[in-house]
């Protein structure tokens, strides 16, 4: 797959996400990607940029309450005022494709958001909701088929086995490519297990071309790591630790970018405090690891193989028992097939029965399947471990090791 994309007619090249991603894949510096709310002042975003962020997306969850207008204004202001900063939109809700079109006209060159992520966040998998989400994002994808626009699809922010996250990303990828997108970023939410996270990124690299061969003809594919998924951090130190683990995995797997999740709450007097700190932290960590990679090892290979096998098993469950689906046949699945699979729990894992937990080595496994056909990890007995709280009783672990709902 090519590293670069054709230039859009919009902002100068130094403001284009495609150029930033291409530069990151050829140089030592990786991208620190910050997300800001729609109402953020341009001056605050400038501070985030100065802290080390190369790419900023403006989060929009709906078109009401002036959010959309504020987002468009911010994108336009940043494009006009902040040199060498690429700007984009991060869609967290159901917004119209016309809004996205206006964002692209205002200077955005990057659009993030995906239907599966939205449905997981809203814990909805009824047929109507799924169909509505797929239709809305199909329209957004059509807008992102413009030359040079980068489209990020992200796995749901849930503590799930990596195979499930990879499966979601591949389905999102297929949907986006089907609607004309050719420059894709796959956003993987880190789980805090070094080998497993690196393996998941390697698996994505290996499997994505199989489900989206269209990208080999002038398209681009980049990997992104989101610093944390799952429940919000209860204490800031856990946020920093989770951010560190995720950023280490991203750096050692040679992902192109890291999406910053602020590890500390913002100061009301300085609304960008947490984000600036998160960007500084991430910039430093990525730069320290710029020349380091997690080399091949039997453990990494085994984890990667396990993830790939589980992904294939998950896709097989999308077909009928008589004719299980394969990676290659994924592209031929219609929106209706995908809708059905999501609605019956095979795809989104929203079934109450689905549970994940950490094994004795800290890796995240499916300990109970959400639907027939999903692989389940046979968890060995856990080793004894010291108390996972500090002496003041604050939870020091970012996740309950006993298993969480997927």
């Amino acid at each position: 797959m090519a590293d670069r994309s054709e230039a859009p007619a919009g902002p100068p090249r130094s403001h284009q996400a495609a150029a930033v991603l291409a530069a990151a894949t050829t140089g030592r510096r990786r991208i620190v990607h910050a997300v800001v709310p729609a109402g953020t002042a341009a001056q605050a975003v400038r501070r985030v940029h100065q802290a080390g962020s190369d790419l900023i997306t403006v989060r929009v969850s709906d078109q009401g309450c002036g959010q959309a207008a504020a987002a468009l204004t911010l994108v336009a202001d940043l494009t006009a005022q902040v040199a060498e900063l690429s700007t984009g939109l991060r869609i967290d809700g159901l917004v119209g494709s016309r809004f996205v079109a206006r964002g692209l006209d205002a200077g955005a060159t990057y659009v993030a958001g995906s239907p599966l992520q939205l449905l997981a966040a809203r814990r909805r998998n009824d047929t109507a909701a799924v169909a509505e989400a797929l239709a809305a994002y199909a329209a957004i994808d059509h807008q992102c088929a413009r030359p040079g626009i980068i489209r990020e699809v992200s796995a749901p922010a849930v503590a799930a086995p990596p195979s499930l996250l990879v499966t979601h990303l591949l389905v999102d990828l297929v949907l986006a490519v089907r609607h004309g997108v050719r420059h894709v970023v796959l956003g993987y939410p880190a789980l805090g297990h070094l080998v497993q996270d690196v393996a998941a990124l390697h698996a994505l690299r290996a499997l994505a071309p199989q489900v989206a061969p269209e990208l080999s003809d002038g398209g681009t594919l980049n990997l992104s790591v989101t610093q944390w998924s799952g429940t919000p951090q209860q204490v800031p130190t856990s946020g920093w630790a989770a951010a560190a683990a995720a950023t280490m995995a991203a750096g050692l797997a040679d992902a192109t970018q890291v999406v910053v999740v602020p590890p500390i709450a913002d100061d009301p007097q300085a609304p960008d405090t947490g984000l600036v700190a998160g960007v500084e932290f991430t910039r430093q960590m990525l730069d320290m690891l710029a020349d380091q990679r997690l080399e091949p090892s039997p453990q990494l290979t085994a984890e990667c193989s396990a993830i790939e096998a589980e992904v294939r098993a998950a896709f097989a469950s999308l077909g009928s028992p008589a004719s299980p689906a394969s990676l290659a046949s994924l592209a031929s699945l219609g929106d209706r097939d995908i809708t059905r699979a999501m609605a019956d729990g095979r795809l989104l894992g929203l079934s109450a029965a689905a549970r994940a937990g950490r094994d004795a080595l800290g890796a995240v496994r499916a300990v109970a399947a959400g639907a027939p056909g999903w692989p389940v990890w046979q968890q060995p007995p856990a080793l004894p471990s010291p108390a996972r709280t500090d002496r003041q009783g604050a939870a020091a672990s970012p996740e309950d090791s006993s298993g969480s709902s997927i």
């Binding site: 670069r4 080998v195 204490v235 951010a243 080793l383 471990s385």
Partner: protein, 504 residues
């Protein structure tokens, strides 16, 4: 000065130590004769009564013992988290220690102030009195000798777990007497780690001083009190070749064991290269066991621990956290028995209590996120381990052939001829010819091996790796790379080259 001819040019070394390294375990007579002088060197020295101290230790609960902590950490492959702290006021120090314990510290450390480390007790006394009068700490640690053993017992009495005293000095005999008599169960400080902290003292005298301290620990051991000792591998504030750190620590361990130490930890510097740091910890663990066994110290317990980055820290707390977390994860992935915590105040000076508490919590959180994980075994890891081990063995074997078979004198000679050469250490006893630098993927190599007794193959390997970096960086393989590695901005990746991306 004595000029030792070597190769094309001789180089100067200071005159021999007046008190050279002992060849063997200090005899009772040697030890107690010397001890009388040590205790008489400051009035509080008389409080270090050995019999009374042993009784005090025996009265302390088992929960305050240090060796089991390290043993358990090794079994669980989960590093102990221990921050360092110390201010002039003992009451304030106790408050700080309690806060750190609440934050998750698993070994409570008392850091020596600079006057104590340089035996300037009179100046320390004045600074202590002024600090108490003004209610502000004018000292960068606790003046334990000025307080004396009886007063310092408050620490062991009120804290619920083991205490460690830390002193980077070539002469810590009286401070060691004081803290062990006060009930401290662990102490950091050693011979080769002292070299970066000294200038004029002959290495033989430094060895002799620490042999005394280790003999003191051996004396406690012989009276049924298990104490713990920790050594650190020549922690200059820069990148340190792992093989040199491993060498120094193995030699420290042998000298300690010879004097009767039974429980020790060996601290490596985190060079911020994950694979190499993990490799160094694993090699150290293996080598120290092998050499202890070879010399008959089979019952001595030795565990590797990791010091977070010792070089320049960025002033931004968030960036400092990045270095701290990388150190914490490295220790956890490597299965180190402990990790010594740095703080976000590192770029400014001595850490505030708040910064120490935050860093302790952060380190604990990282260790817990990494629970159960280890760095995967791979061909690259094995190759790095082999390289470190080959280099360390070449120095160790060459060194241990010196001194007519006695370890202490062997180290003295090794320094004199540059077999052991700590990069950029200011001590006059150090040859100062070896220089370390990062290679093209960030691992630490020798830019100049000086007179370290490496084979041609090892020298060639290091030269090739450094040359590869120079080529990649379009720079000379020279000291300029060292200067870059030394700077606080050493890790900043160059900006994105949008033009190259555009045209490429």
């Amino acid at each position: 000065m004595i000029i030792i001819p070597f190769g094309k040019e001789g180089y100067a070394v200071p005159k021999p130590a007046l008190r050279p390294a002992a060849r063997d375990r200090l005899t009772e007579e040697e030890f107690f004769t010397e001890r009388a002088g040590v205790l008489a060197s400051w009035p509080t020295g008389q409080e270090a009564d050995l019999d009374e101290a042993v009784a005090w230790h025996r009265a302390l609960p088992e929960a305050k013992a240090a060796p089991p902590l390290f043993r358990r950490a090794r079994q669980l492959a989960r590093p102990l988290v221990y921050p360092r702290t110390g201010v002039a006021s003992l009451a304030r120090h106790l408050d700080d220690v309690q806060q750190l314990y609440q934050a998750g510290a698993e070994l409570l450390c008392t850091h020596a102030d600079s006057y104590t480390r340089t035996r300037r007790f009179e100046e320390g006394q004045r600074a202590l009195e002024e600090s108490l009068r003004r209610d502000v700490s004018l000292l960068n640690g606790v003046p334990v000798v000025n307080y004396g053993a009886r007063k310092m017992r408050e620490v062991a009495a009120v804290t619920p777990i083991a205490n460690q005293f830390r002193q980077g000095t070539p002469e810590g005999r009286l401070a060691s007497e004081t803290v062990y008599a006060a009930g401290y169960r662990s102490m950091l400080g050693g011979i080769l780690g002292s070299v970066p902290h000294m200038r004029d003292m002959p290495i033989g005298e430094c060895i002799r001083n620490w042999q005394y301290v280790d003999r003191l620990v051996g004396e406690y051991e012989s009276r049924g009190v298990s104490l713990h000792r920790e050594y650190y591998g020549a922690l200059m504030g820069m990148v340190m070749p792992p093989s040199l750190m491993c060498t120094c620590l193995v030699l420290d361990a042998l000298l300690a064991a010879q004097q009767g130490v039974r429980h020790l930890s060996l601290g490596l510097n985190n060079n911020l290269h994950l694979r190499q740091d993990v490799a160094a910890i694993k090699v150290l663990d293996r080598l120290v066991r092998e050499y202890l066994d070879r010399y008959g110290f089979t019952e001595v317990e030795a565990t590797p621990v990791l010091h977070m980055w010792m070089g320049p820290f960025p002033p931004e707390p968030a960036k400092a956290y990045s270095l701290i977390t990388l150190g914490a994860f490295t220790a956890a992935y490597a299965g180190a028995a402990g990790v010594i915590v740095k703080t976000a105040d590192e770029a400014i000076g001595c850490p505030s209590t708040e910064a120490n508490v935050a860093a302790t919590r952060l380190t604990r959180a990282c260790v817990e996120v990494a629970a159960g994980q280890h760095y995967p075994d791979s061909a690259a890891l094995a190759a790095e381990m082999d390289q470190i081990e080959v280099e360390a063995r070449q120095i160790l074997e060459a060194t241990l052939r010196l001194g007519d078979g006695a370890i202490g004198p062997a180290i003295e000679e090794a320094f004199a001829i540059g077999y052991i050469d700590i990069p950029l250490a200011p001590a006059k006893c150090n040859a100062g010819r070896a220089i370390s630098v990062r290679d093209s993927d960030g691992a630490v190599r020798y830019l100049d091996c000086g007179n370290i007794p490496f084979s041609d193959e090892v020298k060639r390997f290091n030269a090739e790796r450094v040359r590869a970096r120079a080529t990649a960086w379009h720079a000379e393989a020279s000291y300029k790379l060292v200067l870059h590695d030394f700077s606080a901005k050493a890790f900043e990746a160059p900006p994105l080259d949008l033009e190259v991306a555009s045209s490429g």
